[in-house]
Symmetry: C2
């Protein structure tokens, strides 16, 4: 069998042969042009790839200038530490081990102050512990005779490395001392192994500790003085921003679902971006935990004391996620609810819109409460409003005028299933199927409202633990006219701040 | 002002003074006993803490013996690498830089083969790139004159460190080459800085590369030969286990909600643990991404080829999570549904139970399909069954005999809201409120079923990409009697495997 595309090529070849070399060149030049076009394609591909990469990098740099500043801080720290190499007197003092200072800076310098501090402390403690233990084991081994010395050293390395590696799997250790455990293994092996040769262990230890001290102090100085990025502050902003995103999503969905037909939003793209905000909340668990973990290492800064209740932020995050799960389900429900006829939606529209708006207001108030770290006087009013909207929605459902809005039966959907012969059932049956969708949506909104109350509780707990200030005197005077609107929790906070004054 | 608890102590003191030293001893011995009891408390607290810690560690070791094996592997690798120190000939060859081999082992040896390989490759590439670049910069600097040499070196360290640190923020680089970037900065600074003093750069580079080669080869050998833990296999098991957990949760919720009154589950604790299974799915995103990232570095092993579609597992994970969000909402709905009267639940009980069971069966089939890596002949039948259960549930809702089960009006709930005067509305109104809860639950089950179809699509895509085998011939003969039950996707797979034969 001859394949189609083979035929013309071989024919051309035979015809050209007697005519001379000029014809033979034709396929060659075609090959060359093919090669060139391929090369062009390859180069273009690479150029496009690099361009895309640079575009990404540029947008990252524009969106998060703090990260660019961090990069220059790393460069500065490394330049500073390498000065120790260039200045002879220091070089003679610290010796060839200045390498450890460079290494410390590279390994320890992290984006936030908390993570840098945690690594510094871990490195220092790990090195000291392992160094002293290594020297101890070495002393024991050197007194055990030449035969047993390598055995003791090897066995101790094996056992301690295995035990410390195992400890890194235990969650509490992993969260706080993972890096320290690694440094412990490293230092212990280096000390107990190199001790066999060098015999100047104490001097070595002294040198290493002093170089590590130089490295860590440079890191700590630069990270805390030049545009510091505090893990605690980042966590604080993350939580209050996420609350706002949840509020936006919820408001957006209420508007999307219960808006009057024909009145489309002007900025479709903007609104869809706002609707997707809750997705940030769904995936922020790991980020929150990491930040809370690092925040605990940080000293008092800005509005935060040393013992700021960072763990409470994790609880707020968890209750926010449980609310976001509901919004995710709502998202699916809304797509299927588009088919619900307007006459069914109308009676509930107002109540649902009110619930959506009032619960999003509560979330926004919580967000601004965290942002300003002030107790809100409006919060309880807003929560009451949300609860009364829930009751309003439930009342609207109860008084839903079924018998007033019976549609003219659609022949496609009005098929009465066999077995039911009463014709009077049909309109209710019809209605029921459509009510199911409405009911799902409304009860999701009610569920979301109850989960928002969970968030309110957690934020109030944070306000108590972190001793949020009251709002300025002008506003607090206004609230004195309605003292009944405060609940016990808020009273407690007020009492505490009063006692301080 | 005298504080209350100060008074008796000072009184006692004055009374005792004239009686002699025997009375004075009383408070002292009391202090001593206080001190002892405090010390006892402290020691007991520490002992209890340590005991709790050891208990945790023990249960971790029992539950995950693989991790214990990993610890001994680390110990073994370190012992092996320290042998290079003890053997003189090797010591003279590799020199004092054998430290780098130890360091490589400590830093590079990770739990899974993939992460170890990725770190090894990163370390090797980072070192080589930075080493050659460092030597290049050093050559340029040494030809620029004594004045400019430190300036050029410092500037290059500053700029390259800043640029590389920035690249670590870009997600694609962070996911695959984060460690390599760090090693690049480290090596470049060390080379360009130490070159100023040592003047034996090429020799130094040679030594470092050879020691790193020793370290990495020991790590790779041990991690791949002794009880290897493959990231790919772990991801594979994680996904199939999570599918099973979802199935268990779903089945459990269906049983919990629609079981006959009075028939409580025998193992309450077991069942609540099974119900919570979906929570593992909610929080497994980061673990899945990390494992998929490491799995790409692994060579072919077991049933997995080098180019196994690991990314597809992430898609399956995402669709599983979207299903888990719905189950989470269901979880809340069920608590509120406990009040729904039995006569209302009964007509829908069967349909809901059937849907819950059939969708959990689909999930279990998907799980076993992934576990065995074989195409399932039953899958499409089960999906059809699930879809017909959805239709059945919708039919049951349509034929819901409203007028047959009207309860005797409860005075507490039968309050007719003002504005509605028709007494005939009341029973429907009553029913409506309770139907809303039922409706929410049933439509959540329907939504879950539709999301399970999403999982089915993703798993089928995996089956196509990873070329799952067909089930054994005996079963495939059985299916030949029902050829119409296969869909296009499965046909494709069959065709591919047939072409291979």
């Amino acid at each position: 069998m001859v394949k189609e595309n083979e035929v013309p090529t071989s024919l051309e070849w035979r015809v050209n042969m007697p005519d001379g070399s000029s014809r033979i060149l034709a396929p060659e030049s075609r090959q060359t042009s093919k090669f060139i076009s391929r090369l062009q394609g390859l180069v273009m591909g690479i150029v496009l790839n690099i361009r895309g990469f640079l575009d990404k990098a540029w947008s990252l740099a524009v969106n998060e200038p703090k990260k660019v500043v961090h990069c220059f801080k790393v460069g500065l720290a490394l330049s500073l530490v390498s000065v120790f190499y260039y200045m002879r007197p220091l070089y003679d003092g610290v010796g060839g081990n200045a390498m450890w200072a460079v290494m410390t800076v590279v390994v320890v310098f992290e984006y936030t102050v908390g993570s840098t501090l945690s690594k510094c402390v871990n490195r220092a403690i790990g090195t000291c512990l392992a160094g002293s233990l290594g020297i101890g084991v070495h002393w024991v081994a050197s007194h055990a005779g030449d035969k047993f010395e390598p055995v003791i050293l090897q066995a101790s390395v094996f056992l301690l490395a295995a035990a410390t590696t195992f400890s890194r799997f235990i969650p509490t250790i992993k969260a706080r001392f993972d890096y320290g455990a690694m440094i412990f293994i490293l230092t212990f092996s280096l000390v107990s192994v190199s001790g066999y040769r060098v015999d100047k262990l104490v001097e070595l230890a002294h040198e290493r500790i002093s170089t590590i001290a130089i490295g860590t102090s440079i890191c700590v100085f630069i990270t805390m003085v030049l545009c510091p990025v505090w893990a605690g502050t980042e966590l604080h902003h993350l939580i209050s921003n996420n609350l706002e995103k949840l509020a936006d999503s919820l408001e957006g969905y209420a508007a999307e679902n219960f808006r009057v037909v024909g009145s489309k939003n002007v900025h479709e793209k903007d609104s869809s971006k706002r609707l997707q905000g809750y997705k940030c909340v769904l995936n922020s668990k790991v980020a929150e935990e990491t930040m809370a973990n690092f925040a605990r290492w940080e000293p008092a800064h800005g509005k935060f004391s040393f013992r700021h209740p960072w763990k409470q932020y994790l609880k707020i995050g968890a209750s926010m996620r449980s609310c976001a799960y509901c919004i995710e389900t709502l998202h699916a429900g809304i797509n299927s609810n588009n088919e619900t006829p307007e006459f069914l939606k109308k009676p509930l529209n107002d109540a649902c819109m009110r619930l959506g708006t009032s619960s999003s207001k509560v979330l926004k108030e919580l967000s601004s409460m965290i942002k300003t770290m002030k107790n809100s006087t409006k919060l309880d009013i807003l929560v009451d409003e949300m609860n009364s909207s829930v009751e309003g929605l439930q009342k609207a459902l109860k008084t839903f005028p079924i018998h007033q809005h019976i549609p003219t039966p659609d022949p496609a959907t009005a098929e009465v299933p066999s077995g039911i012969e009463e014709p009077s059932v049909t309109p209710t049956v019809l209605l029921l199927m459509k009510i199911v969708q409405m009911a799902t949506l409304t009860s999701l909104f009610v569920e979301i409202a109850s989960r928002i109350e969970g968030i309110v509780e957690e934020v109030k707990e944070l306000a108590t633990q972190a001793e949020f200030r009251d709002e300025n005197s002008k506003k607090s005077k206004q609230t004195q006219t309605n003292p009944n609107e405060k609940d016990g929790n808020e009273h407690e906070v007020t009492m505490k701040t009063l006692q301080k004054v």
